[in-house]
């Protein structure tokens, strides 16, 4: 069973590679934030599996809980940041449209 857990951890780690590719080449900034969010969820699972491998789950489960909380806060903060940038863009778009009328 321990072998199985090790291989599941390796598989999750390998599945992070295409998402890192998306982080590097993602066309927009929001794509990158989404990919980081996905990696955070994977890391939450991976931490518990590492705990299973070391047989110290009662310690690693707390790490996973903290990581899930921080991941949520991080993605929400990034989303709010883009929402706050937005009115400036709308305002400049309105100002650019004015001379036409």
């Amino acid at each position: 069973m321990l072998n199985f857990f090790v291989w599941v951890g390796v598989a999750i780690l390998a599945l992070m590679v295409p998402i890192i590719y998306r982080i590097i080449i993602g066309p927009t900034a929001i794509d990158r934030i989404v990919a980081v969010n996905v990696i955070g969820t994977k890391t939450t699972v991976l931490l518990i599996i590492i705990g299973m491998c070391f047989e110290r789950v009662e310690m690693f489960v707390d790490f996973a809980l903290t990581y899930a909380l921080l991941n949520f806060i991080g993605s929400l903060a990034a989303a709010r940041f883009f929402d706050r940038v937005n009115p400036t863009r709308l305002f400049s778009a309105m100002k650019a449209e004015e001379p036409k009328e």
Partner: protein, 111 residues
């Protein structure tokens, strides 16, 4: 022994969902479709893998193991409620920022 087999089955199913999410993030043409793959696949596979690990942990019933399983259940409930929330917030931010949607016309897809 039966619990072992059930937990191996659950964890393997969760890994299949993880593969689906990764392929979707890699290959979908558009921000919105990528978000769909990311949000759904991740939540479901996280639930399945944690369920398998909790079943494996419950083979030795003791107070510490019950605490661990309770914390795992709390992580599951937390991610299942916050992952759709953050997905919604990010999609709203992207939509308001004016990310283009993908269409079948080749003309509209030039970046």
């Amino acid at each position: 022994m039966i619990l072992n087999i059930i937990s191996i089955f659950l964890i393997s199913t969760g890994l299949i969902f993880f593969v689906g999410g990764a392929v979707g993030i890699l290959r979908f043409p558009d921000f919105y479709t990528r978000m769909h793959a990311a949000g759904k696949g991740d939540t479901c596979s996280m639930f399945l893998i944690l369920a398998g690990l909790a079943l494996y942990q419950l083979q030795v019933p003791s107070l510490a193991n019950f605490l661990v399983v309770g914390k795992m259940g709390f992580i599951t409930i937390f991610i299942m409620s916050t992952s759709p929330t953050s997905t919604h917030a990010l999609i709203k931010a992207g939509f308001e920022e004016g990310v283009k949607m993908w269409t079948r016309d080749k003309k509209n897809n030039e970046e």
